[in-house]
């Protein structure tokens, strides 16, 4: 177990810089998820921590030791790959024992550790099989087992669930969460799936274009997104955004300073007449049993979604009005996308670590948010 510090970490290929100075502290035993759209540099970042990519500038420190020039094997990390990367010519047992054998661990010790890990992951019966005779979920568990037996200080997961089907993904996600609770080791997990990020993480790091957009607990990110990008990325369905023209009764902050209003679909409530903040033409209703997703087209042609408990009685084409609690409204600067704290939600903002900018201040797009 160890903590991890990244200091102004940069990566470039030739003249092109793809990771632009990442500063991050990860505590011992923490579960941190790197999340972002594809090409945001999250996998590169993980591979730099693992030592599979050279560091162009800055430093990676594991347990207070700069590991920039230390081989991957000496860093005390284990990595689980998206493609599992099991050795196809070795049995499950040998796959898990391979690294230990190379490290000249005594045979009994190897055997004990492999059996222990196999018990924990319930793959005892598969030990003699070859990877090609396993299902996707079993392969991924073997890959995790191979990481466990080495007893690493830091676990690295590179999109480990992407190749699994939906049901297995949920199950394996739970297993990883259990594993973290049992081992209490530091884990870094890369995904593009915000649900995985929300459910697994102690803290989420949202990345875009090689920069950190926001770092925080899942709830902080949900309640106080630092900018429109994070707001859009966290939460499903996505947050709705409204400009001044698309609101029936725009709040002063929106009408005065051309800020954008963001409201999550689950925070929109039906409201009539004067109380309505937004009005939209009903387009489509998706009934999911537990809740109903209502797709609407607003006054300025923008589409938005409301998540309701029950199906509205209106027919398609009819106009519906919605309102939202002012504490559930998010304001973002129209140009920079930065969060603006309005007088109405300043109180709640102070409790979180969200935006601290009272005025609709303008910041360069994509600058770091520590």
């Amino acid at each position: 177990m160890a903590d991890l510090k990244l200091r102004d970490l940069r990566k470039s290929y030739g003249d092109v810089e793809i990771v632009h100075g990442i500063d991050l502290d990860i505590d011992d035993g923490e579960f941190v998820v790197f999340v972002g759209p594809s090409g945001c540099g999250k996998s590169t970042l993980l591979r730099m921590i693992a030592g599979l990519e050279d560091v162009s500038a800055g430093s990676v420190e594991i347990a207070g030791r700069n590991v920039n020039d230390i081989a991957p094997s000496k860093r005390g990390v284990s990595m689980v790959f998206q493609t599992y990367a099991l050795y196809p010519h070795l049995s499950v047992y040998s796959n898990m024992a391979f690294g230990l054998k190379q490290a000249k661990t005594p045979k009994e010790e190897i055997d004990r550790r492999v059996r222990e890990a196999a018990d924990a992951l319930q793959i005892q019966d598969l030990l003699d099989r070859r990877p090609r005779h396993l299902s996707g979920g079993q392969r991924q568990r073997v890959a995790i087992g191979r990481a466990i037996v080495r007893d690493p200080e830091i676990f690295l997961f590179d999109e480990p669930l992407s190749n699994l089907d939906a049901a297995l993904r949920v199950q394996t996600r739970l297993e990883i969460a259990r594993l973290h609770r049992r081992l209490e080791s530091t884990m870094i997990y890369v995904t593009h799936d915000q649900v995985e990020a929300m459910t697994l993480a102690d803290r989420i790091v949202v990345l875009r274009d090689g920069r950190i957009e926001q770092v925080g607990t899942p709830i902080e990110l949900y309640d106080f997104p630092a900018n429109a990008f994070v707001a859009r990325f966290i939460g499903s369905p996505k947050m709705n955004f409204f400009g001044p023209d698309s609101l029936t009764n725009p709040p002063p902050l929106v009408s005065d300073s051309a800020a954008t209003l963001g409201i999550r679909p689950e925070h929109l409530q039906p409201a009539d007449g004067e109380r309505a903040l937004i009005e939209g033409r009903l387009e489509l209703v998706e009934e999911l049993g537990e809740y109903v997703l209502v797709h609407l087209i607003g006054e300025s042609g923008n589409d938005f979604v409301a998540k309701l408990d029950s199906k509205p009685s209106a027919a398609p084409g009819q106009t519906l009005g919605f309102a939202a609690d002012h504490r559930r409204m998010h304001f973002f600067d129209h140009d920079s996308g930065r969060r603006i704290v309005s007088p109405s939600n300043i109180e709640s903002a102070e409790k979180g670590s969200g935006g601290e900018h009272l005025a609709p201040a303008r910041f360069p797009v994509g600058s770091n948010t520590p």
Partner: protein, 282 residues
């Protein structure tokens, strides 16, 4: 679906197919059949000009024992093995290593080195005849089995490297990275991860190189002379000199010479099944 099964074609097309296919087959196999038939003829048939007719008598045993008893074909065969086997081992072993280095490591001159290996294959080897002969003479390797082996290894490694590099390149890179994170040394990654997965490539390449070298005639005649070091391809030519117009014996010798590469293919063909990497990644 394409191609369509012949049963679905029109009747005339089917008839044409049934007639033309055997004819094409016979035309294609004719030289081989002629050699096989000649190798069992008696000397009398050859002298009387019965080249294509039914043999007057079948002398299979006599002819095949004669070439082993009366000619140094045994020595020639042995030479062929002494040249071919070390060449196969040498060039495949070397190209496994060069292929690994070129496929896995990123270094500045990587592509340049690789292209040099590839470009070497495009040089018509005939133009090298004189310089190579001079070189082997100066190195004191002229007319020796080891000289021929060295030369063949040097020449074949280019093609083998191209083959191996591309094969290793196609292996999932994560396998190597996973091993690296696990603390496996680079040599052990090569030895215990990459080489086992290269088995199909090694088998295919071995058969290919074995056939190339076994069938080589050009360099065998350029770099060697005499039964001490000449392989069988060159040796057959000298058989003809010893027995003027003894074509039945030369044919028998040719059949003997063709057996090893053919049997090599049948022995190794099951290794061609390249399904070994299946299951490594999804």
């Amino acid at each position: 679906m394409y191609p369509r099964p012949i049963e679905q074609a029109s009747p005339p097309a089917r008839w044409a197919y049934k007639i033309l296919l055997p004819i094409a087959l016979i035309v294609w196999l004719l030289p081989l059949l002629a050699v096989a038939l000649t190798s069992v003829r008696s000397a009398g048939d050859i002298i009387s000009g019965n080249y294509w007719g039914w043999p007057s008598e079948f002398n299979m045993l006599e002819n095949y024992t004669a070439i082993f008893e009366n000619t140094p074909i045994g020595q020639y065969l042995l030479n062929s093995f002494k040249v071919t086997i070390p060449t196969v081992i040498g060039s495949v072993a070397l190209s496994c290593m060069t292929g690994f280095a070129l496929a896995v490591y990123r270094f500045k001159a990587n592509l340049l080195v690789f292209f040099m290996f590839v470009a070497g294959n495009f040089i018509p080897f005939q133009i090298l005849m004189v310089p190579v002969r001079d070189l082997t003479l100066q190195l004191g390797m002229y007319n020796s089995v080891s000289g021929l082996v060295m030369f063949h290894i040097a020449f074949q490694t280019g093609f083998c490297t191209l083959f191996m590099r591309n094969f290793i390149r196609a292996l999932p890179r994560e396998l190597i990275e996973a091993a690296r994170v696990e603390g496996v040394s680079e040599f052990r990654i090569f030895r215990y991860i990459v080489v086992p997965l290269m088995k199909p490539a090694i088998a295919a390449l071995s058969v290919l190189i074995f056939t190339f070298i076994w069938n080589d005639y050009f360099w065998a005649t350029v770099l060697t002379q005499g039964a001490d070091s000449q392989p069988i391809t060159a040796g057959l030519y000298s058989l003809n000199g010893q027995w003027l117009a003894a074509w039945h014996l030369v044919s028998a010798g040719s059949i003997v010479a063709a057996l090893p590469p053919v049997s090599m293919f049948f022995l190794m063909q099951r290794h061609f099944i390249a399904g070994l990497t299946l299951g490594a990644v999804k």
